[in-house]
């Protein structure tokens, strides 16, 4: 009924499916500060989009969506512009090194398995660490209250590396060595290039655990970085003729509405709540990649789509609860 012709991909496609995919990834993107390529690309592919067009179209819509989400996060004071701009330099160099490493592994015939196993280890490792961090936060808070001078806090201990120049980030409230920041983004950029992904899902935790940003600022600042990688991805895939512009615009409309919901939800859910949902999503993505590794591609695609939709419902429910509570409090006053 809502079928439209997509001239560049040369196929008929249901416009509602495109808007719905955009919407669900918009909610996730606005809430977690990720581009969501790991959801959109398999989803488009599962519905019959050729893979190269799926990647290019996805990157194009991510660029537009990240503008919408970053603008709103900025209004909420969640974007550290200085940190975001510095992140671009390290990330770009890191991506290129990662891509060169993959080329080298390809020549040795080892790229496929090494990249996939690294991806799986990263997703499961990150997810389990964040779950552990969530599970032990109360214990750490109690210890901090009992021994205020012992240096035990809610945040996990970060290594301090004070090689000058030191940079102060007022928005995040941290002072940190330029080299720490550069190496963190070089590393996350390297992972992006090595794994062939946008990198939001490991840059966001890196901003929290390695740089020391508050969770909401990590989400907003990561989206600010995604904006630049999305713009570059959109252009480079456009030059290669692999962006289906009509599909990208339809997805952007859905994603923009979803992003408004996702960003607003950040206001109602505490930092550790965001981390818990993020950890669950990352582990589900890890299971999806594992299914693909065992040649269960269809199950893997449906797994990631169902996980994304399920998480959207949870986020929207939590936001609705928050709105109700806020209205009740206002009415009480």
């Amino acid at each position: 009924m809502f079928d439209i012709y997509l001239p560049i991909a040369g196929m008929q496609f249901n416009a509602l499916i495109l808007v719905a995919i955009g919407f669900s990834v918009g909610v996730l993107g606005g809430f977690f500060g990720v581009g969501g390529a790991w959801v959109v690309t398999p989803a488009l592919n599962a519905f019959g989009f050729p893979m190269a067009y799926a990647i290019g179209t996805d990157l194009a819509h991510i660029f537009g969506k990240s503008i919408v989400a970053t603008a709103k996060h900025r209004k909420m004071g969640n974007v550290d512009m200085k940190l975001g701009l510095i992140s671009i330099v390290g990330s770009v160099v890191g991506v290129e090194i990662g891509a060169q490493n993959v080329m080298w592994l390809s020549r040795l015939g080892l790229a496929g398995p090494i990249v996939r196993y690294t991806y799986m280890a990263l997703l499961f490792g990150l997810g389990i660490y964040m779950l552990y961090d969530y599970a032990t936060k109360d214990k750490r808070t109690k210890q901090a209250t009992a021994n205020p001078g012992a240096g035990v806090g809610v945040m996990p201990a970060r290594k301090t590396f004070n090689l000058p120049p030191m940079i102060h980030f007022p928005a995040s409230g941290i002072t940190i060595s330029f080299w720490t920041v550069t190496f963190v983004f070089l590393f996350t950029g390297w992972l992006s290039g090595f794994l062939g992904v946008g990198g939001g899902f490991f840059r966001m935790p890196a901003l929290i655990y390695l740089i020391g940003c508050p969770t909401a600022i990590a989400v907003g600042t990561d989206l600010f970085s995604v904006l630049f990688s999305g713009a570059y991805g959109c252009f480079t895939y456009g030059v290669k003729g692999r962006v289906e512009i009509i599909a990208a615009i339809l997805m952007l409309v859905g994603a923009s509405i979803g992003a408004q919901i996702g960003v607003t939800a950040v206001k109602y859910i505490r930092g550790y709540g965001i981390r818990l949902l993020f950890a669950i999503m990352v582990i589900l993505a890890g299971i999806s990649v594992s299914l693909k590794q065992f040649n269960l591609s269809v199950a893997s695609q449906w797994m990631v789509m169902c996980a994304a939709l399920g998480m959207c419902v949870v986020i929207m429910y939590q936001m609705w609860q928050g709105v109700k509570k806020e209205r009740a409090e206002k009415a009480g006053h």
Binding site: P7, H61, A71, I97, W179, C234, K240, T264, R270
Partner: protein, 96 residues
């Protein structure tokens, strides 16, 4: 003396990525010869398809600018709508 060592160390650190990059060499992007059949196309589909067939660099520039403009426009419009329905957001306190 300490300052000199800091400067030298900083220079070495800055040089590392450049060395790693130089070790690989860049790949030439693959040439893609796909052409869209313009017959039966009209309006906006024809507009995009023509650029796609004639000049991929122009097509890429149009796509990138358009996505940015559409994203920006949607952000402005939704902002106005949300203000009207009383769901305006402002600076929040960061709770962990």
């Amino acid at each position: 003396m300490k300052k000199i060592w800091v400067i030298i160390f900083n220079c070495c650190l800055l040089g590392l990525p450049v060395l790693a990059w130089a070790g690989g060499g860049l790949d030439v992007p693959e040439e893609l010869g796909n052409k869209v059949n313009l017959a039966n196309l009209s309006g906006i589909n024809l507009f995009f398809a023509r650029y796609y067939n004639d000049n991929l660099w122009a097509y890429a520039a149009i796509v990138t600018v358009l996505m940015g403009v559409v994203g920006f426009a949607i952000a402005l419009v939704t902002d106005v709508i949300l203000k009207m329905v009383g769901m305006e957001v402002s600076k929040i306190e960061h709770h962990e």
